[in-house]
């Protein structure tokens, strides 16, 4: 089931749910859906899809609320919350002081006592201020209390480079959280999944971190009007192929799909898997693909060393696919540097479409990336 192609990063990405990505019918009221819309043609941006998920969740469940810095009348630093404050009021779309540790803890407390908080951290880099509450409290309370309390909270984290915001506003830190038992971590690459994964995260009785990508907010794609869920922990095959499996997450998915089209023109048939969840990690889907293609290239924006690619590579290499590999597993990830301000350096610091084409070609033609 090959999906249609997509141009580089900012272009429209057609959503192909893929074998593991079939959307479950949602339960909440589709409050924000335009009635009578032909859903086959319905397109929203990634930011609009997130907003729709929030609106539907808030309409369906009074326990759900959104809070964070400037999510109210400002509409969110990236415009994601938009007009939600006018639709749901200032109690359920709450502007907070600049107190990241405090608001993360507030999410824990609200979740512990019956609410379903959704917290927006303005840039994912600021999660460095909230680690204590997320890692020591949210992730561990269910276990430390012997299973007798839940912390059903969602944290939304705009991540990534490419906006010229330099080293303290451009990080991709998601791999850290994949190291923390008790948390779940997702990373949607399409408007479809941005909505479906967020709704699934809000349903989840555990703390879920949703890493959104700033460069994706304006990308458009098909988004059904109903409140569907995309299951957490399931990768999606976005493109079928025989020669090589590329596993990518977030903005690296459209980049990999674009690279795949160029590679196809060069006679290399690439399968592209959208990781979607970092914890739990869907090794089975990757393994199944690699058993067919015998080659694996992992692409992510986070720094390569200790990036999520390390875990994927290790798992595949120690699993049953080990004997089937025709070439060493290859990883493309962020360079070993803080993100630079200068736009040329900034681009050079993370994998671009050309890098993917080059690595894939070498892996297939020379047996080594």
């Amino acid at each position: 089931m090959p999906s249609s192609t997509s141009a580089p990063s900012t272009a429209t990405v057609a959503t192909s749910a893929g074998p593991t990505g079939s959307a479950a019918p949602g339960s909440g009221a589709a409050a924000a859906a335009a009635p009578g819309t032909d859903t086959a043609l319905r397109e929203l941006s990634y930011a609009e899809a997130i907003r729709e998920a929030l609106a539907q969740a808030m309409s369906a469940d009074p326990r759900v609320f959104l809070f964070g810095e400037d999510v109210g009348v400002y509409g969110g630093a990236f415009g994601v919350s938009g007009d939600l404050v006018h639709r749901f009021g200032t109690e359920r779309v709450l502007d907070t002081p600049i107190s990241e540790l405090g608001i993360a803890g507030a999410a824990v407390g609200a979740a512990l006592t019956g609410m379903r908080p959704v917290l927006e951290l303005q840039f994912s880099d600021f999660v460095t201020l909230a680690m204590e509450q997320l890692v020591n409290q949210a992730a561990k309370i269910h276990f430390m209390f012997g299973g007798k309390a839940n912390v059903p909270m969602v944290v939304r984290l705009p991540a990534g480079s490419g906006t010229g915001a330099a080293a303290q506003h451009s990080q991709s830190l998601e791999a850290w959280f994949a190291h923390v038992p008790g948390l779940k971590v997702v990373q949607p690459s399409t408007p479809h999944d941005a909505k479906g994964l967020l709704l699934a995260a809000i349903d989840d009785p555990n703390p879920v971190l949703v890493f959104e990508h700033k460069l994706l907010y304006k990308t458009k794609g098909h988004v059904p009007a109903d409140a569907y869920r995309v299951p957490i922990g399931k990768a999606a095959v976005r493109r079928d192929g025989r020669d090589l499996t590329i596993v990518a997450g977030s903005v690296m998915v459209p980049r990999s799909l674009a690279a795949a089209e160029r590679l196809a023109a060069d006679g290399i048939d690439v399968e592209v898997i959208d990781l979607r969840s970092l914890r739990p990690l869907d090794s089975a889907t990757i393994e199944a693909s690699v058993s067919r293609t015998h080659r694996l290239l992992i692409v992510h924006e986070g720094v390569k060393t200790m990036g999520i690619g390390a875990e994927i590579s290790a798992r595949i290499a120690e699993g049953s696919a080990f004997d089937l590999l025709d070439a060493p597993i290859a990883r493309l990830g962020g360079a070993d540097t803080p993100i630079p301000y200068n736009p040329v350096l900034e681009k050079a610091a993370v994998p671009q479409e050309d890098d993917i084409v080059r690595a894939a070609t070498r892996l297939v033609r020379e047996g080594r990336a």
């Binding site: 109690e91 407390g109 006592t113 204590e132 020591n136 430390m144 209390f145 299973g147 007798k148 038992p181």
Partner: protein, 346 residues
């Protein structure tokens, strides 16, 4: 300055306690309440002594933070709460749990790492939680409960419940950023929270007078336009009076209060403490203000309790702890095969 300082108990560091009417504070508590208060204070004391003895005998591992000497603070504040109000506790949290009505048997079983413990042996002393009883948990992170309290307050508000959240923390915790962020949010949103600082004059070895520049933790409430109240934390009726006022204010929608209970930790910070930072004289001076003996004495003096009733209450506490110890010892340990269960809720 490596010489230990001296925190004389009598002067309460020059601050004025809120209550200038001790007789009235005691009179405000009915007979059932004073008996309950005394019983809980004894339960705490005996629980701590039993925990300590069990530790010394090698029956438990890890560490523990005892609240001997701080019983009036835990019991007095929580007396003002209703059963479905919430508390958030600290690493020094046994007293809060008992004061909130926690079952000493399940607590001690937890301390022993048993499946019958509050946390099924997963949490231990620093994480005892009695969620059904409104105790949202002790916390191993200094000031860790403070931001959580803000969320509990938001939750109460959004659910339009008539509840209050009381959050405990030490003097040392007030130098954490979390303290500042939490008090600020509670204040701007007028949340139904009572902040209780148990100022036992030290954060581990750090003298509160070296750790902050103001005389009282309660002085910091001004930065949040919040009432700040200093109370003699070893005076149960005074603590109860301060807490009643703060709880009423919170429940009435007028917002949070910061109560500072000046008290003293008689034991070391934890098992590894050699008390190098304070004098024996200071410890002894505070020992003489034992909150339990003091409260019992006041009750006897005021004719609110006779010696027989006093003995009965103490014996009741002892019996409960003895039974708890038996329960803890004889309870089954968790099954190691269940190690990774309960990491995620389903």
């Amino acid at each position: 300055m490596t010489s230990p300082s001296n925190h004389s108990p009598t002067g309460l560091d020059g601050s004025t306690a809120v209550s200038s009417a001790p007789a009235a504070d005691l009179a405000a508590l009915d007979d059932a309440t004073v008996e309950r208060a005394l019983l809980r204070m004894y339960l705490i004391r005996k629980f701590e002594e039993t925990a300590e003895a069990s530790y010394m005998r090698g029956l438990v591992h890890g560490t523990m933070h005892l609240s001997i000497g701080q019983e009036a603070s835990a019991v007095g504040t929580i007396l003002a709460l209703a059963p479905d109000d919430y508390i958030l506790s600290t690493h020094r949290g046994h007293g809060h749990c008992i004061a909130k009505g926690g079952d000493v048997a399940r607590m001690l079983a937890e301390f022993f790492g048993k499946e019958t413990g509050y946390c099924r042996g997963r949490g231990g002393s620093m994480h005892i939680a009695d969620v059904e009883g409104g105790n949202l948990g002790a916390n191993g992170i200094v000031a860790g409960g403070l931001p959580i309290a803000v969320g509990v307050g938001m939750s109460i508000r959004m659910q339009r419940l008539p509840r209050v959240c009381m959050v405990f923390f030490g003097d040392g915790a007030t130098n954490e950023g979390a303290f500042h962020e939490a008090l600020n949010m509670a204040s701007i949103w007028s949340l139904p929270i009572v902040f209780v600082c148990e100022n036992n004059h030290y954060g581990m070895s750090m003298d509160v007078a070296k750790a902050m520049a103001v005389a009282n933790v309660a002085d910091r409430a001004a930065a949040y336009a919040m009432p700040g109240v200093v109370v003699d934390g070893n005076d149960l009726p005074a603590v109860a009076a301060a807490a009643r006022a703060a709880v009423a204010r919170a429940r009435g929608g007028s917002g949070p209060t910061l109560i500072e209970c000046k008290t003293y930790r008689i034991r070391g910070h934890s098992k590894s403490d050699r008390n190098l930072y304070r004098t024996k004289e200071e410890i002894d001076a505070w020992r003489s203000r034992d909150p339990i003996a003091r409260f019992a004495g006041e009750l006897l003096d005021a004719g609110r309790l006779d010696a027989a009733a006093h003995a009965r209450i103490e014996a009741e506490a002892q019996a409960a702890i003895d039974a708890a110890l038996e329960f803890a010892k004889s309870s089954p340990a968790p099954d190691p095969a269940m190690l990774t269960h309960d990491v995620y809720a389903t």
